[in-house]
């Protein structure tokens, strides 16, 4: 099915900013000190990236970040064990084995990222789907949450759904006393979320499922303004609620994979969007 993009395009440079910073630091260290210093900088950068990925894995339970973290750790190890590195490997066989592991994990990572879109934050797909059947209407924004309906589920089903949504990077669940709040996350938002998960949720769109079956939606101004056109705010909120109710129904029927298929069918760029 063809969905015309209704969201403004993302900042396409955000994925390469850390890499650019790393290369710049490497160049400075290599030019002004020596190549060993440059390799040490690379080691530190990759080690930090690995820590970032492992933290993201702990927060999202998405295995692709574990694979990514392992790959980054091997890269860090690679730069440390080069002949000019600060712990050069005397054993060549051992070095080749580690490089081989790095290549295997790298290929695995490419498959996860590009083919299976496993580490793609799918907030953008959500907002595109929601806007698909929405009419144009100006000045509709309000910061009031909207009741989006009522459905039946058990607390365990809700917690299972929240975990599924988290693991597949559709939204991040926040457990409250009497409800679960799901906050959609888009590519580029992971830095804010990983560094400060509690402050991340403030001022963002959310969908709340309480333990009595009530569903409430609140769309942030930031997400509303991300659309190219002025869409009916009421319909956007209503559609967002309906979409999550549909997703929950699919999950309860054991067809969770259909949720992912539906989101992936929009074919958004797996790295930049």
């Amino acid at each position: 099915m063809y969905y015309p993009n209704k969201l403004k395009s993302n900042n396409k440079f955000h994925p390469i900013i850390p890499a650019l910073m790393m290369v710049t630091l490497f160049a400075f260290a290599a030019i002004f000190i020596d190549i060993s210093a440059g390799l040490f900088v690379m080691f530190i950068c990759f080690a930090l990236f690995a820590v970032f990925s492992f933290t993201l894995f702990l927060r999202t339970h998405n295995s692709s970040f574990l694979v990514g973290g392992l790959m980054q750790l091997l890269f860090a190890f690679y730069f440390a064990t080069l002949p000019e590195g600060f712990i050069p490997f005397p054993e060549k066989k051992m070095a080749w084995f580690l490089y081989f592991c790095g290549i295997v994990i790298g290929i695995w990572m490419i498959i996860l990222v590009v083919v299976r879109r496993k580490n793609k934050f799918k907030g953008r797909e959500l907002f595109e789907l929601v806007a698909n059947a929405t009419e144009l209407a100006s000045d509709g924004f309000t910061d009031r949450p909207r009741p989006a309906g009522k459905t039946t589920y058990t607390k365990d089903e809700l917690l299972g759904f929240a975990e599924y949504i988290r693991r597949n990077l559709i939204a991040l669940p926040y457990m409250e006393e009497d409800r679960v709040v799901l906050v959609p996350i888009r590519m580029g938002d992971e830095y804010h979320f990983n560094f400060s998960p509690e402050s991340f949720r403030h001022g963002r769109t959310w969908i709340a499922f309480d333990f009595q079956g009530n569903i409430t939606v609140s769309m942030s101004k930031r997400d509303y303004l991300a659309y190219k056109e002025e869409l009916s705010f009421d319909q956007l909120c209503s559609n967002l609620g309906k979409l999550f109710i549909d997703f929950f129904e699919l999950f309860k029927q054991g067809d969770g994979i259909r949720i992912i298929d539906r989101l992936n069918s929009l074919k958004q760029n797996p790295i930049t969007e």
Binding site: D139, G140, T142, R144, P147, S232, D234
Partner: protein, 201 residues
């Protein structure tokens, strides 16, 4: 006695010199403001205002007298008993099945109001409205009852279709016995340009 008269009586009767002034009025056949003021050691304007108010309410008789100087008023007690009978009936809403439940409303576009949800997030607990411009701008917070909060939680968004008050109350599960307070908050928010009503063609 209407509300305005009751308010005047209440405010004067609550003064700590009120009993002393009535005692003087009961003791003297008639008394002027200056005589009463000098007797009680009060400012003449204070006593004059009190006597004028009581006279306007019909508890005193006021008589203009002319001596060699300029004319002045003497006051005489007209009643030995003052009773406050306040009619609250006009303040009640006309009827519970008010035709205004058919009024179709929604939130106004760019209303600029801030809605705060309750702790359980199933109703609005207060609405904050900004009144005035620039440095004169002030914040007006209206704390809501639970039925009012449930009603506003289900109020149609600015881009949604208008809905009747009756329908919104039904969706919000608000009992019809709460109609008068719902109509009150709707009226207040229409006045503050937070809610708009559908124009009749």
């Amino acid at each position: 006695m209407d509300f305005k008269q009751a308010a005047i009586l209440g405010s004067y009767i609550s003064k700590d010199y009120a009993e002393d002034l009535f005692r003087l009025l009961a003791t003297y056949t008639s008394i002027s403001a200056s005589e009463a003021a000098s007797r009680l050691d009060l400012h003449i304007k204070t006593v004059q205002d009190f006597l004028e108010a009581m006279s306007d309410l019909g508890f005193l008789v006021k008589e203009e007298v002319y001596e060699k100087k300029r004319p002045y008023f003497r006051y005489m007690l007209k009643k030995k008993k003052i009773s406050m009978d306040l009619d609250l009936v006009p303040l009640f809403p006309k009827s519970a099945t008010d035709h205004r439940t058919d009024l179709r409303i929604r939130e106004r576009k760019n209303a600029g109001a801030r809605f705060t949800t309750s702790r359980n997030n199933q109703y609005i607990s207060n609405v904050v409205i900004w009144i005035g411009q620039g440095r004169e701008r002030t914040e007006r917070r209206i704390n809501l009852t639970i039925p009012q909060g449930q009603f506003l939680f289900h109020l149609p968004f600015p881009s949604a279709d208008f809905q009747s008050i009756h329908k919104i109350m039904e969706k919000a599960d608000v009992d019809s016995s709460n109609l008068s307070e719902i109509l009150d908050i709707v009226d207040a928010l229409i006045e503050f340009n937070v809610i708009e009503q559908e124009k009749q063609i």
